[in-house]
């Protein structure tokens, strides 16, 4: 005896079931694919001040961008879907716009509704975003004994920086503040953290103008040095998430 062919209703029910499995799996698959960029990320992103350890940060961030909204220099951006589970999570592209702490009270931390930017930090000196590192020593102007004249990043650079001596409260475009320096010390001069970076002589000869930037334990990794560095690409960069190690 042969089985009856399935009725129309049975066929539709079967197709509906298969469709549900297909679309359900596709949604879960697409969401889980967000793990790939997280797993493959070779260089961590520079996160705003107070960010928890990366895994905890991705878990606790509710992807609302309130930190973006309060930043006076608009240094914070939200990652796109190419960062997978990191979608909607804030980062700071320091070379384009560093965190210069012109808000003073770490506003992004105060704005964060989940504590993904840890509320245990109350002043800029306590922040640990990463550590500055002289990436291209040969390009560094100070190491060559060279000065710098003009706008640090050219006339078209939109980045902002607060100059306490010009306006205590409002950051201005870097392009509006040209320099004329006998020896380039921009990274030291504009660093918002006292003693985080110094220039050290490169020889015992007092007439030798060459100096080398030295990063100290006080560095919080805000990225101002990377932003203001006039060489292209920047001689000094931030290693995001790095911790200080004595040289």
């Amino acid at each position: 005896m042969t089985a009856l062919p399935p009725s129309r209703a049975q066929q539709e029910a079967r197709r509906r079931f298969l469709r549900s499995i297909l679309f359900g799996s596709a949604a879960v698959g697409a969401a889980l694919a967000g793990w790939l960029p997280v797993a493959k990320a070779h260089a961590p992103r520079l996160r705003p001040p107070g960010a928890l350890a990366e895994d905890e940060f991705l878990a606790s961030c509710i992807k609302c961008g309130q930190c973006v909204q309060v930043c006076p220099v608009k240094a914070i951006f939200l990652a796109d879907i190419d960062e997978g589970f990191g979608i909607g999570v804030p980062y700071i592209p320091a070379r384009d716009q560093a965190c210069d702490f012109s808000c003073d009270a770490v506003q992004c931390i105060l704005a964060c509704p989940t504590g993904a930017l840890s509320h245990s930090i109350s002043k800029k000196e306590e922040v640990r975003m990463g550590i500055a590192r002289l990436d291209k020593p040969d390009a560094c102007l100070a190491r060559q004994g060279l000065g710098f004249k003009g706008q640090a990043r050219g006339a078209d650079f939109p980045g902002l920086l607060r100059y306490e001596e010009i306006d205590r409260w409002n950051p201005i475009p870097l392009a509006d503040h040209p320099y004329d320096l006998e020896l380039c010390d921009l990274c030291v001069r504009e660093c918002p953290i006292e003693g985080a970076i110094t220039l050290a002589p490169m020889s015992t000869d007092a007439a030798d103008p060459r100096r080398t930037p030295q990063v100290t334990q006080a560095c919080v990794g805000c990225g101002v040095c990377e932003m203001v560095c006039p060489t292209e690409p920047a001689a000094i960069v931030i290693d995001a998430r790095a911790e200080w190690r004595p040289a």
Partner: protein, 324 residues
């Protein structure tokens, strides 16, 4: 309909005709009366005409679209023009300084982070009370930006379907329940807010406020599927946010109420409804009482109220008439 039944139908059970003993005396009487009154051919023509005329009524839809646009534009304006009324995005925000957190986003964060966050408790508490009062899934139809674009995609789908260009392919409604559990388990197990990666609500809300992103491709794919393959695919069968708010809506006093007395049982309401299983009671002889509250899954969108030619469906605040 009991709360349990209402929740079960929301989670995917097919609605069933009430058992004979579940009808109230008044309802039984009403149904008997209606069965006895046979409609003439002229009556039927008049009713079809009325339904046809009602299709041009968009009172509640327009109110809803305006609300939805205003809420989302307030988010945009708060940031772009520094108005600071609603800072943040739909996932979490500060409304004139008060924390608000989307229930589903807060749940994902709590499961992934495995920590109770005081600000999230405050934020979800405020939102919970707000949507308890305002109807739960009214979040979907009155606030969620994806709902609006999905309505436009739906209009296109229906137009194409009427010409026979496309056909609607239904999914099993339990898909959404499974997805809800899967995404909750994934957040807990992986420690990442897995669902947020594809959440069209979050993606659209952020894109509106902070500028367009590649992630909008997800929204585009969903809309394309809804136009050519399955009517309201995401909101109807898949979105876990809908379940979160439906649970809140199950006990909300603000709801659509159905009074069968003048109803012609032609089903104009079910044709426009995103979740027609909640309107099962409008079928002839299905209403267990002379007034029935519409179930948990109802988004309070008001399309059925606009479509109804007899005023049998109306918004009400449960218990308000007794209070006054």
């Amino acid at each position: 309909m009991s709360l349990i039944q209402s929740l079960a139908v929301m989670l995917g059970r097919e609605p069933a005709k009430p058992k004979p003993e579940d009808y109230t005396e008044a309802a039984r009487c009403l149904h008997d009366c209606k069965r006895a009154n046979k409609r003439s051919r002229e009556d039927n023509a008049r009713i079809q005409h009325e339904i046809h005329d009602r299709a041009r009524v968009h009172t509640w839809r327009n109110r809803r679209w305006i609300t939805l646009l205003v809420v989302n534009l307030l988010f945009v304006a708060s940031y772009q023009f520094d108005v600071q009324l609603i800072e943040g995005a739909l996932t979490a925000s500060r409304v004139i300084g008060f924390h608000m957190a989307d229930l589903n986003s807060a749940l994902q964060v709590t499961l992934a982070f495995k920590t109770i966050l005081i600000n999230l408790i405050i934020g979800t508490g405020t939102v919970l009370v707000m949507w308890l009062l305002l109807g739960g899934r009214s979040f979907c139809s009155w606030v969620c930006p994806y709902h609006l674009v999905a309505e436009w995609a739906e209009a296109l789908h229906l137009r194409l379907a009427a010409r026979g260009v496309v056909k609607d392919h239904a999914l099993d409604r339990r898909t959404r329940t499974v997805l809800y559990v899967v995404f909750a388990v994934l957040a807990l197990a992986s420690g990442y807010t897995v669902y947020e990666t594809i959440s069209p609500t979050g993606i659209l809300s952020r894109a509106l406020i902070y500028g367009p992103t590649m992630a909008l491709a997800i929204v585009a794919v969903l809309l394309a599927l809804e136009v050519v393959y399955s009517r309201r695919l995401w909101c109807r069968y898949m979105c876990p946010i809908g379940i979160t708010y439906a649970v809140v809506g199950a006990v909300s006093p603000l709801r659509v109420a159905y009074t069968p007395e003048d109803c012609h049982h032609e089903g104009a309401c079910r044709k426009v409804c995103l979740v027609p299983h909640v309107l099962d009671c409008t079928k002839k002889g299905y209403a267990p009482d002379v007034k029935v509250g519409i179930g948990a899954d109802c988004t309070r969108c008001g399309l059925c109220i606009d479509a109804c030619p007899t005023g049998s469906l109306k918004f009400e605040v449960k218990g308000l008439d007794k209070l006054l």
